[in-house]
Symmetry: C2
């Protein structure tokens, strides 16, 4: 008996290392290495990647080459390319670059939103509507993906009302979002909360509630992943090597590591299309490129369980 | 809404740091410090502790003072004291010392059992029967707790048949065991497997299937804890600071850290009776006693979520 291994056994992982990972570390990875990363991740079976941000280059020099990185990624016809954009200008650049999806973050915490983008969540929803109009005007088929950040709590404000997350999700869909993700930006989520909040958002917007984005700051990212799986979520963000994701505490981890999520999923009987061994080779390569940065995760160190014969099918 | 917060919202944690923690590290902690540890853990609300082993002192000098440690622990009338014993001789010493429970490990992996204790699981079941007889002869009310080790897989043998775990659990109850625990000795368990195997053992022996003992070697201990909670388990082993537990890989973690489990449980709405802040103070103290040893866990570094107001009630 394999629980979950039914019609719904395929899980999509989007590796966000090239964006969420690289944006919060010091080292600037050369474009050529980013392209090598994409090639190796693709060869390992990763088919969804967030490869950069269209933000002003002086604000985020690490990601200033995003257009070139997208151009490289587009050589793979079945690679789904996401870029983060904070505003209309960024969205126009994403459309021009030919990304498959643009990710617009909207913080559910008013305090976080004010501190981070100097806008209210409702002002971000207005920006979303202008992006949807721009997409239509351009005749673009780009997907608009809204990531609701601090959906499970906020280091500034503390609790974030679940009703506010649901309200933003509904309003975002009304304003043109195709997909909604719930992001635990600061690692506050617990499994009970994950089930509860995803269920509420699913009740409000159905299958457009697609993505779970967890941080491992308090060691709960994998437990939260299982909770989201339990309520039907099949699309997860993760970062190669667990890099980035604003850990907020010295030595603490941010993004959950892609390798650990792959291992968890395969061990539980889900399919991911990703070859763990090849992913671990890439992790090692990237750790050599980013020698001064903190890497996280377990499975690179401990190795897969000997009993997981199916991992090597 | 708080899932799980029903009649069944209290979860018991047994801190195994003084046994499973200390037995696998180099430093020998003086008896006086062990007593201080017990005092502080008790003050923090811990009411179940595994405080040592009755094994030959030359084999495990770290735990040679177990009788003295038990004697100290017995000053707390409502502190439930467990000691590990490998055989009849150890059980006799546990009875003489006045421990509340003796823990007899029986490995479900024939290969692990042969390598570790040079006995088959069935020979261990015979020893269990002699221990039960000795308990009766002594007129002792000591509880016999069987920990089925390598229940979720084995580094030597690989897969461990679930039917063998169920068979050993039933046979152990027949031979006199009062409580059964399933131990993921090498960190192989995944949440689907945890639900499946606990459910099978519960079907075979009912509420005598009590304890979950998880290692965090592959980062899944907290996810596995949630899975066990989901199928009704309310008794968990954990080790202060995540020390010990035979990590088997350089830098990998073994036992899940007590602080992290407390945080998870409280954040999910369970009650533990344990004060996380006081536990973190103890962790810091113990880390100063064991300066050359590896500590694990998350919450000591990241701190509790700001939104968890209920943590500080």
């Amino acid at each position: 008996m394999r629980p979950f291994l039914s019609l719904n056994s395929f899980v999509t992982l989007r590796d966000v290392g090239l964006r969420d990972g690289l944006q919060s570390i010091q080292t600037i990875l050369p474009t050529e290495k980013k392209c090598d990363w994409i090639d190796a991740a693709y060869a390992a079976g990763v088919r969804h990647m967030e490869v950069g941000s269209f933000v002003p280059a002086h604000l985020m020099p690490q990601l200033a080459d995003t257009a070139s990185v997208v151009a490289h990624a587009k050589r793979y016809a079945d690679l789904h390319i996401t870029v983060l954009v904070p505003n209309l200008k960024g969205a126009e650049r994403a459309i021009e670059a030919g990304a498959d999806a643009l990710l617009l973050p909207i913080s559910a915490s008013a305090a976080h939103s004010a501190a981070n983008v100097k806008k209210t969540p409702d002002q971000m929803l207005e920006i979303l509507a202008t992006i949807d109009s721009a997409r239509k005007s351009a005749g673009s088929s780009i997907t608009i993906d809204v990531g609701i950040s601090t959906a499970f709590g906020c280091t500034i404000q503390g609790d974030v009302p679940e009703s506010e997350v649901v309200r933003i999700a509904k309003a975002a869909v009304d304003a043109g979002a195709d997909e909604i993700g719930l992001a635990d930006t600061v690692g506050y989520a617990d499994p009970a909360q994950v089930k509860r909040l995803f269920t509420k958002v699913q009740a409000a917007i159905g299958a457009r509630c697609r993505t779970a984005h967890f941080h491992d700051t308090r060691g709960l990212a994998l437990a939260n992943t299982v909770a989201a799986l339990d309520v039907g979520i099949r699309y997860f963000d993760a970062s190669l090597g667990g890099i980035g994701g604003c850990p907020h505490a010295p030595g603490a981890s941010g993004n959950v590591s892609t390798e650990d999520v792959v291992y968890l999923l395969v061990r539980m009987g889900f399919e991911t299309g990703i070859d763990l061994d090849r992913l671990l080779v890439l992790r090692k390569q990237v750790s050599q490129w980013l020698v001064n940065e903190q890497f996280n995760g377990y499975i690179w160190r401990a190795g897969a369980a000997k009993s997981s014969a199916f991992l090597h099918q």
